[in-house]
């Protein structure tokens, strides 16, 4: 059923995807690259199907938009690997597979006799990618977590939010998506290794580390100069050695929302130049000489006194408040610099850049009698497209195809397995 005829980066590789919400993105990435991904769900469906939002707000395991997004380009079967029959079937599938992706608690697969060491005996080339909050070993490996817990342990949360309230996260699923994307990279590394040597291996992914890799300079600030990056609300705070830290306006109110004001540094401050000229042309009182200097050199965040910066920014911030997001962005596009708005989903779907680049992909959902627009490839691949190859599977949608046609189970045997809740 996968589009074998079409050129793709991973056509011909088979992936068995046992992951739950922690690792679903990994299989999606591999599938969108053309691998033949079989999503294996427990009978009744994966718990991730209960995560909203839902299609037309109808809570139903076949209508989870979260599920739909995370499982494109996969086919789906149900299988209970906690039963002896289920395990045997899984092992049969492993024989013909290249990659297993799983995100169970560390030790769970071993408890079922399905640890990497066991799978390797069945198929020496098999790659097993395990995506868990902390990795397979270590003092926290058995911690009970959730997306929020992973995010807190990863460090970005501490430095996000208004200073008079608690830290905030960055909307749901981010830690799990890091698990999936790092899992995919690790899997690709292992796949290349196998192509060169014939040898499979275990890829042990830590979601926490994936989150930590997104910390920008937080670790370096502590390691090198002993500064803990704090929450700064809508501001950015630059520590600068002996001098008092500089407070930069960063995300500021505009007429209909918020916009990034282009804080500091050579190139970024230079981008503020055109905005200053625009403000000046509309009567803002900005020192022309200051603009000239900023356009030429930026300003030195390390030495600029706070009062000077504040007086520079004040008329600019007042000016931004009179402009809509649309006006600000159009100006930035035309002038190559300015203020960059904070867009919401509706505005993003109208972004002409994304439209021209065909970033949105229309995916048929015959079961709903509908076509849904999805965000598509994170990289455009010239020879072999990175794209959605099919919508997410329904529960057990491909049981017949896999169990009967591929593994050769008779209808009678399949009926027994169904009644025994194996499939």
């Amino acid at each position: 059923m996968t589009e074998q005829h079409e050129d793709s980066l991973l056509g011909g590789y088979r992936v068995l995807d046992l992951a739950d919400e922690k690792g679903l993105l990994c299989g999606k990435i591999l599938g969108d690259l053309g691998a033949d991904v079989i999503k294996i769900e427990r009978p009744g469906g994966d718990p991730a199907r209960s995560i909203g939002p839902f299609y037309k707000d109808i809570p139903d395991p076949e209508k989870s938009l979260y599920w739909m997004f995370c499982n494109t380009s996969k086919i789906g079967i149900t299988l209970n690997i906690e039963t002896a029959d289920g395990r045997e079937i899984f092992k049969k599938l492993v024989k013909g597979a290249d990659i297993v992706v799983e995100s169970f608690d560390p030790g769970y697969m071993a408890g079922l006799g399905l640890a990497y060491a066991e799978l390797e005996k069945i198929n020496p080339g098999i790659i097993m990618t395990s995506i868990t909050p902390f990795g397979q070993t270590g003092p926290y490996r058995d911690f009970k977590t959730s997306d929020l817990v992973n995010w807190a342990m990863g460090g970005i949360m501490f430095q996000t939010g208004d200073t008079d309230r608690s830290p905030v996260w960055m909307s749901p699923h981010q830690s799990h998506f890091f698990g999936g994307s790092h899992g995919a990279s690790g899997t690709m590394m292992a796949l290349f290794h196998r192509e060169m040597t014939g040898e499979g291996q275990h890829v042990d992914v830590s979601i926490q580390q994936g989150c930590m890799l997104a910390l920008m300079i937080t670790a370096e600030m502590w390691d090198l100069v002993g500064v803990i990056t704090p929450r700064t609300g809508p501001y950015a705070i630059r520590s600068r050695g002996e001098r008092p830290p500089l407070i930069l306006p960063w995300v500021v109110p505009c007429k209909d929302g918020y916009a990034f004001v282009l804080g500091g540094g050579t190139s970024m401050a230079k981008m503020a130049g055109p905005l200053m000229l625009w403000a000046l042309s509309e009567g803002a009182s900005i020192d022309l000489e200051a603009i000239g200097q900023i356009q030429k050199k930026g300003y030195d965040v390390f030495t600029i006194p706070q009062e000077v910066l504040d007086s520079l920014f004040e008329p600019l911030l007042n000016f931004i408040q009179t402009k809509t997001k649309k006006e600000l962005y159009e100006f930035s596009v035309q002038s190559g610099g300015g203020s960059i708005p904070s867009f919401s989903a509706d505005e993003i779907m109208e972004n002409s850049q994304l439209e021209v680049r065909e970033f949105w992909e229309k995916v048929e959902h015959p079961e709903l009698g509908d076509t849904i627009t999805y965000p598509s490839a994170p990289v455009k691949v010239s020879e072999a497209p990175w794209k959605i190859r099919r919508r997410a599977p329904l529960i057990g949608e491909h049981n017949e195809e896999i169990y009967e046609k591929e593994l050769g189970f008779s209808k009678e045997k399949l009926a027994i397995l169904k009644q025994a809740k194996v499939v």
Binding site: T145, P167, P253, R357, V381, E383
Partner: protein
């Protein structure tokens, strides 16, 4: 040692700078690829001029930000805007399997090092470009940093409190989504080249890569015409689900209760106070309805304990909870230590400092992180002689001609960002 590295024999000509592409190339280098990073003192990587600096003294070789994404690479200083420099750059194209660049669209074409030009030199080259908005389209010329594009991608509208405005996350978020998609695509391209003999061109828009991490939010709008908004730390199907003040200055924990069992265990951990047995908190629906009050009551309890204490006693009872870790916590985190996430390497100017390891461990061909980020041009001798076969005389001529740049070519560096 002695272990085969995944990408040994793979060669990368890394013409990239700033955040995204260098991180992708770092991951390749840490798995055995030979990555030559082509830099110039005339236009040093912007990250080299950003904090934190060793001893807080600005300098192109003093920034840990500038060093962080370049482990295991070989840095050369080369002005390839000059004809002789271009010639050398083209030799590196000939040598390489992978070409990486992250300039503004059009720059490489002007320099004669775009995909079409490189393909003529090396027909099966895998060439990747990554920039804010991709190589074409009505906005492609608007250069954005990751700090901007995360707002264009929608993260600003879903991060923060419902009654407050957008905030800064202190990380240029899309810069940390994009690199791993690139790593995946580049290795996919290597596999494809093995099968077909064909190279290819990869065009990444960091904005597009970023939006994929809001996939469900986009589908919600596409289908339900609902544009997601800031929700603090709450989600519809768990309560409590938030961050709570703990004992100490700026100490916080998170607690997330999804099931009845977890709620019962949670109540037990906090000593079964009377309020916990109030009818209104007995069900998820009740807790959601009274979540403000619930959060306030929980905080009355958490603020008496250190966050580590809360985490450990909650975990012992099977309740998902954690410390909201700051930078220091992360370095002291026993799990992070166990995973050897931070690797301490000796940088020629900065000295011994910490680098991040990959998030995944390969059981049979693990990453080997052995070389710190480089002083600009640190590996000139090795690369020009051993890889490109130039003589000492050639090299000194090129230095005199300003093709191989030196510190004398540096622009005035101020402490920026």
């Amino acid at each position: 040692m002695g272990t085969r590295q995944v990408l040994e024999r793979i060669k990368v000509a890394d013409f990239s700078w700033w955040g995204v592409a260098p991180q992708a190339c770092r991951e390749l280098a840490e798995h055995g690829a030979t990555v030559v990073r082509i830099e110039s003192h005339r236009h040093p990587d912007g990250l080299r001029t950003m904090v934190p600096y060793k001893d807080d003294i600005p300098g192109v070789d003093r920034s840990a930000f500038g060093a962080a994404y370049n482990t295991n690479k070989y840095s050369i200083s080369l002005d390839f805007a000059q004809p002789k420099g271009l010639e050398i750059a083209k030799k590196l194209v000939q040598w390489a399997d992978i070409f990486a660049e992250s300039n503004a669209p059009g720059v490489m074409a002007k320099l004669g090092l775009d995909y079409e030009s490189c393909k003529k030199i090396k027909p099966d080259i895998i060439y990747f470009s990554t920039c804010a908005q991709g190589q074409y389209g009505p906005h492609h010329k608007l250069a954005l940093s990751g700090a901007h594009s995360m707002y264009v991608a929608g993260f600003g509208e879903v991060t923060g409190w419902p009654d407050r405005g957008a905030v800064w996350t202190n990380t240029s978020y899309t810069d940390y989504i994009s690199p791993w998609y690139l790593v995946t695509a580049v290795i996919g391209a290597l596999l494809y080249r093995r099968k077909t003999g064909k190279g290819m061109y990869l065009d990444q828009s960091q904005l597009e890569a970023g939006i994929t991490f809001l996939g469900p939010v986009m589908l919600d709008y596409a289908v339900n015409r609902r544009a997601a908004t800031r929700m603090g730390n709450r989600i519809p199907y768990a309560a409590p689900h938030g961050a709570y003040r703990c004992q100490g200055d700026e100490r916080w924990c998170v607690i997330a209760v999804f099931t009845d069992e977890e709620w019962k265990a949670f109540c037990q951990v906090i000593g079964n106070p009377d309020w916990a047995h109030d009818e209104k908190f007995a069900t998820l629906l009740g807790r959601k309805e009274n979540e403000d009050e619930l959060d306030r009551l929980i905080e009355e309890w958490t603020q008496n304990y250190a966050p580590e204490k809360v985490m450990h006693i909650m975990q012992a009872a099977g309740v998902p909870a954690a410390v909201v870790q700051n930078a220091q916590d992360i370095f002291e985190d026993p799990q992070v230590k166990h995973r050897e996430h931070f690797r301490f390497l000796e940088h020629k100017v900065i000295g011994r400092h910490a680098y991040n390891a990959p998030a995944y461990r390969l059981s049979k061909s693990p990453a080997n992180i052995w070389k710190a980020g480089q002083v600009l041009g640190e590996d000139n001798e090795y690369v020009y002689k051993e890889i490109l076969g130039l003589s000492d005389e050639d090299i000194s001529d090129l230095v005199v001609e300003g093709v191989i740049t030196t510190e004398a070519d540096l622009p005035e560096i101020t402490g920026l960002y």
